[in-house]
Every structure is written in C-alpha cells, then in structure tokens.
Subunit: 207 residues, 2 copies
DNA sequence: AATCAAGTTGAGATCCCCCTCAATTTATTG
DNA sequence: CAATAAATTGAGGGGGATCTCAACTTGATT
C-alpha cells in the first residue's frame, strides 16, 4: 500500500471514530471525509460501504464484551457476576453513541458486528441461570428481559450522554433493586418469546 | 369554509392520525397527503407546518394525561396512585408511535404539545411526594427519575410495539418492584438536576 | 348561469444524503 | 527522471423529503 493511502486510511479511521462516537452509526459519511481532510471518493476507496467503516471502527471495542461475559461467569458471587456484566455492558454503550447504537441494534448493520454482539452475549443465559439458581436473582427474570433492558438503557444513554453521562447508572440501580428475589412480585405478562424477539432483532447470526 | 375544504381537512386528519400512529411524528407528509387523496399543496393549505398537523392529531389525546394526574392524586392508596399514573402514562404512549414520540420528547415539536405534556405532568411532584411520605415509595426516587423512566420505556415501546405490544408492562413491573422502600439500596449517583434536565428537554413552557 | 373568492394542484426549487467514475495527481520503481 | 501503477478527486446522478406558488378548478352566491 502506498504511503499516502496508509496515511489517509488512518485519518479516515480517526475521523470516523470521532464522529461516530459523537453522532452514532448514522453519521453522514461526507462529514467523516471532510474531517479526515480527504474527499468522499477516497473514503469509498478505503471503505466501500458504511458497514465496512463501522466494522473497522466499532468491532474492536465490541470484542471487549467477550471478556466481560467470561469474567461475569467466573465471578465468585453469582449476583456480582450478573450485575457486573450489565454494568460493564452499559458502561461500554455509554462510551459513545456509536457503540450505544451498535449494541442496541445488536450489530445488525453488518455480519461482523452482529457476530461480535452475539459472541459478547454468548454467556448471558448462563450468567442469568447461575444467579437465579443461587437465589440471588429473581427466578422470573429471563434473557429476553435483559434484551429489553438494553433497549431501555440505550435510550437513557442517548438522551443523557452529553448532559449527564452517568445518569444511566442511577436508572440501572433502580432496576437492579427490582431484580433481587426479595423484591419480586408477580409479573403481569409473559416474557418475549424467541419468535417475537427474532421478529424485532432479526435472525441471530449463523455463528 | 367551503364543503370540499372541510371534507379534505377531515381526510387529512384521518390520514395523519393513521400514519403518525404507525410511523411516529417524523412520518413523511407526502405520504399523509397521498393517503388522504389530496395533493401536498392542500395539506400545506390546511396545516402550514408539520407542527400544526401534529397538534391537531395529538394534543387531544395528550390532554388525557390531565385526568390521569388528578386521578392519581385522588387515589386512596398513594402507591396505587403513583403506579397507576405511570401505567396510564405508558399505556397512552403504547397506543401509537406518534404519542410515544410526543411524550418522550415532552412535546417539544410545538408549544401546544409541550404545554399539554407539561399540564399532564403537573401533579407528578405531588404524586411522588405523597407516595414517598406514606412510606410506599422509596425516598430517593425523584421526579427526574420518572423522566428517565419515560425515556427508557419509550424505547421499549418503540422496539416492541408491533411484535409484542404489552412487553413494556413486564419491564415496568421489574422497575416498580425496585421502587418499593423495602427494595431500596444506596444509589450510585445523584439525580439529574433541573439544569441538566433543561439541557436535555429544553426549557419548560412558560405557563 | 355567471361570477369570483376559496380551494386545489403538482411541478419544481432546495436541501441533505448516498454512491460512482472519468479525469487527474502522486508515490514508487528501474 | 521518466514511466506507470496506485490513489485521489469532486462533479454529477439518484433518492427522498420539505415547502412554495402561479395556474387552474370548483363551490357558493346572486
């Protein structure tokens, strides 16, 4: 690769990181090219689709979900594992608007991102089961409820990121207090079934 | 007003109700005109701005928040009043995407809508205070936390409305279980101050 | 039925974004 | 210092949305 091309690629990645962080995965590509000091054509040379650029910018951070899930399962206390996972997950989303969008949409904009999210969520069934079985998490909380929580918190983050970047922690604390077995009261409706979840999220990636 | 004009106005309101319900407050105006069987020019004759049309379509329903707030304060049991208010509020949001958008944005697209939302939330301070003082609601829950909850639930509704229109009820149940005094554990961060809230929502309407 | 204000129309100006490609510039190599 | 392959450029085509206005049609009135 020619030296100028390598340089431009770096500049594009820099600009994309910055702008996707600020404006989310739908940020205008022209803006990214402009900030990189490069023409829109060059952007398309390096990244033929928005998805390619988002992959380059986001998948690395998304991969950190992996470790988070493993650590949660390995935590000595099952509740701490569970709560640590959701806190770590949302802390990642709260890093920037791009990650928040990516996780809230389960990476649906690209196979790479979808796979990264899927891998990151690989252990949630076990994390939840372990905490439930230890009697530390209410028994009627299911994986689908965590998905719903992700939608909810993603919006709290979206709205409050600029003015109060920690506001989601307070929201989450209220919610977690409702997940202790002692707090549980009967729930009014059934959890989302896999079919309905798939209707919203799209099919899970093949692997 | 001429008969044809009255007829077209009705058709526009019908179409707008339907389409805003389905697609939210950003639905394309051309689509509304098309479904009303009327040209885009006629739409603009009757409603010079999107806001005027949204007001006509949404403010009536938003006004029902008023009664909801009063009833909540009048409820014999303070907790039931509080929980009934939030359930009624979200049930209204869950009616359609337009209302959901309108309430989530605090009606910021027009003074009328903003005023309607503001009126509807007039009593929340008291509703919360009453439940707290009765020892039925945890004492660290504040009005700003309800705003955060509105953001959160609005997203749950947005995502799940078509596939599982009741999913928000389950989410809310978890959250409410965390709001009982017995469930309360220390919160990690302070509530959103009025300044930060204003930075996000815009200034409250004058009245 | 003639008149005319009221109402309707839709092409087109404007904006914003996506994406392409022929022409041009630039880095590298012998 | 050519020669040439690699890379860059940005105008332009296309889509979708908002909003306007001069020309036209229609309902009400006498």
């Amino acid at each position: 690769m020619r030296a100028d091309a390598a340089r431009n690629r770096e500049r594009l990645l820099d600009a994309a990181s910055r702008i996707v962080a600020e404006r989310g995965v739908d940020a205008p590509l022209e803006e990214i090219a402009r900030q990189a000091g490069v023409s829109i054509g060059t952007l398309y040379n390096h990244f033929p689709t928005r998805e390619a650029l988002l992959d380059a910018v986001l998948v690395g951070r998304l991969a950190s979900l992996d470790r988070l899930g493993s650590e949660a399962l390995a935590a000595p206390d099952p509740w701490d594992g569970f709560a640590g996972f959701v806190e770590g997950l949302f802390a990642l989303q709260a890093e920037n608007h791009g990650l928040n969008d990516a996780i809230a949409r389960a990476g649906s904009f690209s196979p790479e991102a979808a796979a990264a999210c899927h891998r990151g969520f690989r252990h949630v069934d076990q994390i939840i089961a372990r905490a439930r079985e230890a009697g530390r998490l209410r028994p009627d909380f299911e994986t689908a409820d965590l998905i719903t929580l992700v939608w909810a918190v993603s919006q709290v983050i979206r709205e409050s990121m600029s003015a109060a970047p920690d506001a989601w922690r307070r929201f989450l604390a209220f919610f977690l207090d409702g997940l202790r077995p002692g707090a549980a009261r009967p729930l009014p409706v059934e959890p989302l079934g896999p079919d309905r979840l798939a209707a919203i999220l799209g099919p899970p990636p093949a692997t």
